[in-house]
């Protein structure tokens, strides 16, 4: 996964498959674990630059089509609601 957008897509798909019972919880948990690590390391970078009061571009968080971020309809549908 080259960037955060790809990770989001992967996670979104995995969640859908898990919900539908197409993949085993253990497989999904593995990706969630990996995602946690990727998010963690991105977070460390964000924290680091915030401490130095810098605002550099973190490549992993940048997306080729950054202007069209936001939730895809499919993603919104899956978000838990009360």
């Amino acid at each position: 996964m080259k960037n955060a957008e790809e990770l989001r897509a992967e996670l979104s798909q995995t969640f859908a498959q898990l919900k539908a019972g197409e993949i085993k919880p253990s497989e999904a948990a593995e990706l969630a674990n990996l995602a946690g690590k990727m998010i963690g390391s991105a977070k460390v970078q964000v924290e680091y630059y915030a401490l130095r009061k810098e605002q550099p571009r973190i490549e992993w968080l940048e997306s080729p089509n950054a202007k069209v971020t936001g939730d895809s309809p499919a993603f919104m549908a899956k978000r838990p609601v009360d």
Binding site: T14, K19, I39, D82
Partner: protein
């Protein structure tokens, strides 16, 4: 004049309540009705409160929306400073409100909750957590929860 079926007294129709159709009057007078209600008050209290709470939660008559709009208007008028001042004056109420907010956030995985998980305002220098990071974290949590449920 109409005779009350409970106390047996003859009273003018104005002393009787109207049925919910707002046309026909009830068979017992208002005094008897109130006496009955008063007697019920303690025993039926919980049941009635539960009914009212359910109606409110279901937003019957749009009361809930009305309250939310009023809160929003008040906030727009007074701003955040008033809220902070209120919290300083009512620390216990503010803590309770915050607990509720966090509970709601945890259930719905709100932006507020996930952002706080990533970069806690009291422990982090980060003022603006990237949106995409919040979305990824939320999805990760959703998968983990689902896994826990399925196991």
């Amino acid at each position: 004049m109409k005779t009350c079926t409970v106390c047996g007294k003859e009273k003018p129709e104005g002393d009787y309540r109207l049925h919910s159709d707002k046309k026909t009057v009830m068979r017992y007078c208002n005094d008897c009705h109130l006496a009955k209600r008063r007697a019920q008050h303690s025993t039926k209290r919980e049941e009635r409160n539960a009914q009212f709470r359910a109606r409110y939660a279901a937003n019957v008559n749009g009361v809930k929306d009305k309250h939310a709009a009023a809160r929003k208007a008040k906030y727009a008028k007074q701003g955040r400073a008033a809220l902070i001042a209120w919290a300083a004056e009512n620390p216990e109420k503010a803590a309770e409100a915050n607990r509720k907010k966090m509970k709601r956030g945890r259930e719905r995985l709100s932006d507020y909750y996930v952002r706080r998980l990533l970069c806690h305002p009291e422990r982090s220098e980060v003022k603006q957590v990237p949106e995409i990071l919040i979305e990824c974290k939320r999805l990760q949590l959703m998968i983990e929860r689902e896994c826990r449920e399925k196991r």
